[in-house]
């Protein structure tokens, strides 16, 4: 009995692989539409706010520097203009010192250094640290020109502004006195830092705020997608009346409308097919029904024909004809019987009349009743009882044995075993023969209606419905049936029946 162990190992394999499979599904979910939408939103928001901050920063910085530069330059010129007339000419060192002091007093630029130069004389005010001096290009420019010149330069890691103003005589050209101002742009640099900080403070919340509309938009897109997914699954489960609400003019609404059209078309087609099928089945049932009445009359007199054919009242040809009619009427009767039985299965009108009985005894009685008990090897443990429909069980056993007798070769074996599965105890009844077996590609076709195992034989002795009826009877009990070839030759049919019928038992009382 390898069945239950194989099932058990399969089941355990399933349960162990279930967890990783779930994790994989979650991982796939992470790469889903929602994440992609949110990521796209955040990226766009971050990019937009960074670009905005950068542009704002650049503009603001330029404006800020320009303004303070203008102020410093303007202040210096005003100061120089104010004291220029009082400078003696040619100035001595003391005069230069006084000029430097006066300008420094006005010194609005904190930390700035004023340098006044006349030829070789030089006066300074303020602390000159780190060897800072007038940048030589500025000095050259001031000497050459009579206009105010300024230049930004870096010194000691800081930005400085150097402004040079030559003092001129009215209408007489340069006097040779030059006033320089070196002003650190520390405050401006601080302003820059605060600008960067402000941009950072603005951008990060903006990106975070972008998450909210991102999630909302994702939900807005995902809700119809999920509805579509649910509807598709319902449709796949056979709920063909599934429809979606299609509001608005979005692509998703269009998709929902397309889905509805498809579902409606499908439903219509299926309904049409079902009607046609029901009509075809009804037709088969009607035909059998109509055939039965004349057959009933003919079947009633076949015995009479047989008797007369055997008695020798008639000539040989007539006797043959009578026997032929009798035999074929019998076959036709069985065919119509089987057809009607199949029609009852198709119409769902087949019912189970359950009883409990001993299987070994039932099989033996079935064989005895048909005179088949010889040429059989039986492995039937006694005392195994089953809850089933005895008449249908008889049909199953009889059809399987008849099939083995017809297409197989003796000895025919019947083996009965019990198997305990997760879903209760099952009865396994195997009928095998020593015949040529069944071609591998035809194993699952032997239960088809009117299926002929041997294509060359256009006519079998049975109705061609025996195995189909057998299968229907097994299925009606909630059982299973399958055909296989034995490794040592011959075909084997296995019927599995639940020991306790799955159907609610109808009490005979």
């Amino acid at each position: 009995m390898t069945g239950p162990t194989a099932t058990a190992s399969e089941a355990s394999a399933d349960s162990t692989s279930a967890a990783p499979r779930g994790a994989a599904a979650r991982l796939r979910r992470l790469g889903g539409l929602r994440l992609r939408l949110v990521a796209a939103f955040v990226l766009v928001a971050a990019f937009a706010s960074l670009v905005t901050a950068a542009l704002t920063y650049r503009e603001a910085r330029a404006g800020l520097l320009q303004r303070s530069q203008d102020r410093i330059v303007g202040d210096l010129r005003t100061g120089v203009d104010a004291i220029a007339p009082s400078i003696p000419f040619p100035p001595d060192q003391a005069a230069l010192d006084s000029v430097a002091r006066d300008i420094d007093k006005q010194g609005r630029a904190r930390g700035s250094i004023v340098i006044v130069v006349y030829r070789d004389l030089r006066a300074e005010s303020g602390m000159r640290t780190g060897g800072i001096d007038i940048p030589p290009p500025l000095r050259a420019a001031v000497t050459q020109r009579t206009a105010t010149v300024f230049q930004r330069f870096r010194h000691g890691g800081e930005v400085w502004l150097a402004v040079g103003v030559p003092i001129t005589f009215v209408n007489q050209g340069p006097s040779g006195v030059q006033v320089y101002l070196l002003a650190p742009m520390r405050a401006e640099a601080q302003d820059e830092a605060s600008l960067v900080k402000a941009a950072r403070r603005g951008a990060v919340p903006a990106v975070l705020f972008a998450l909210i509309p991102a999630f909302l938009a994702a939900a807005g897109v995902l809700r119809p997608v999920r509805a579509l997914q649910d509807a598709t699954r319902r449709l796949a489960r056979g709920r063909l009346d599934t429809r979606l609400k299609a509001k608005g003019a979005s692509e998703l609404a269009d998709l929902a409308r397309d889905f509805n059209h498809t579902a409606a078309a499908l439903e219509q087609n299926v309904a049409q097919l079902r009607t046609m099928e029901a009509r075809a089945r009804g037709f088969a049932a009607d035909v059998s029904h109509e055939l039965r009445t004349p057959l009933a009359a003919m079947a009633a007199v076949t015995d009479l024909l047989d008797e007369d054919a055997a008695a020798g009242h008639v000539d040989a040809d007539t006797a043959s004809a009578l026997r032929l009619i009798s035999t074929e009427t019998g076959k036709l009767t069985r065919l119509v019987d089987d057809l009607m039985e199949i029609c009852r299965f198709d119409a769902g009108a087949a019912t189970l009349h359950l009883d409990e009985f001993d299987i070994a005894e039932a099989v033996r009685r079935c064989l005895d009743h048909r005179g088949w008990q010889n040429a059989m090897t039986l492995e039937l443990p006694v005392g195994i009882r089953v809850e089933a429909d005895p008449r249908r069980f008889d049909v199953v056993v009889a059809n399987l044995v008849q099939n083995a007798l017809r297409h197989g070769a003796p000895p025919i074996g019947i083996r009965l075993t019990l198997e305990n599965g997760a879903d209760g105890t099952w009865i396994l009844l195997r009928v095998h023969d020593r015949g040529p077996g069944i071609a591998a590609d035809r194993l699952d076709r032997v239960f088809e209606r009117f299926y002929k195992a041997d294509a060359a034989r256009t006519r079998s002795e049975g109705s061609g419905l025996g195995m189909a009826i057998t299968r229907e009877n097994v299925l009606l009990h909630g059982g299973r049936i399958h055909a296989a070839n034995r490794p040592d030759g011959g075909a084997e049919f296995t019927v599995e029946l639940p020991q306790r019928a799955h159907h609610a038992r109808q009490d005979p009382e």
């Binding site: 009633a300 007199v301 009883d355 009985f357 009743h369």
Partner: protein, 224 residues
Amino acid sequence: MVRVLLIEDDPAVAEGLALGLRRQGYEVDVAPCGEDGLAGVDAFPPELVVLDLMLPGIDGFEVCRRIRAAGTLPIIMLTARDHDADIVLGLEAGADDYVVKPAQVRVLAARIKAVLRRAAGSGGRAETHGDLVLDRAALTVARDGRPIALAPSELRLLLELSAAPGRVFSRGQLLETVWGHPYLGDTRLVDACVKRLRLKIEEQARSARYIQTVRGFGYRFGPL
């Protein structure tokens, strides 16, 4: 010659069956509808009725009930296989057995023989079981001194079960011994017959005293 009344509306079927049954040595009268059939029961009178359930006018079930109400005349019904529920209804209306159409005369004759055999006595003296008195020679059953009219299958079933009080009979066994059907035949015959029998002999059909059900196995008589 055993006299059989065939109530069958289809002339061809009726003719075929009558022909076959006559060959088998029965004296056959044919009635084409229920009304004629009931009249024939009184006029012919038959020892057994073969009754088609699908009849114009009064249907077979009603004919069956009326014959049963009037006496214990054996009834074999002819049914169509595609009307499975009809079998139960017919059995409950009092039929002793049934044959599915299209039926061979051989099969029908075997059933007729079995039903008639059922009514044959087996000798012995009257037995008393509780309030029941069974006379196996005279084939009579009485409860509290009043005779009970039992159809052949009912009587035969009661005699079979009461022959071994307390012993459990499976439905298959009863089918074989009482009806002559195969062991794996239609057990509804047994269940329907038990039901009818209980209505006649039990004081309360719901809590059976004489014919008890042994779940999963079958029926037994008593123990009282």
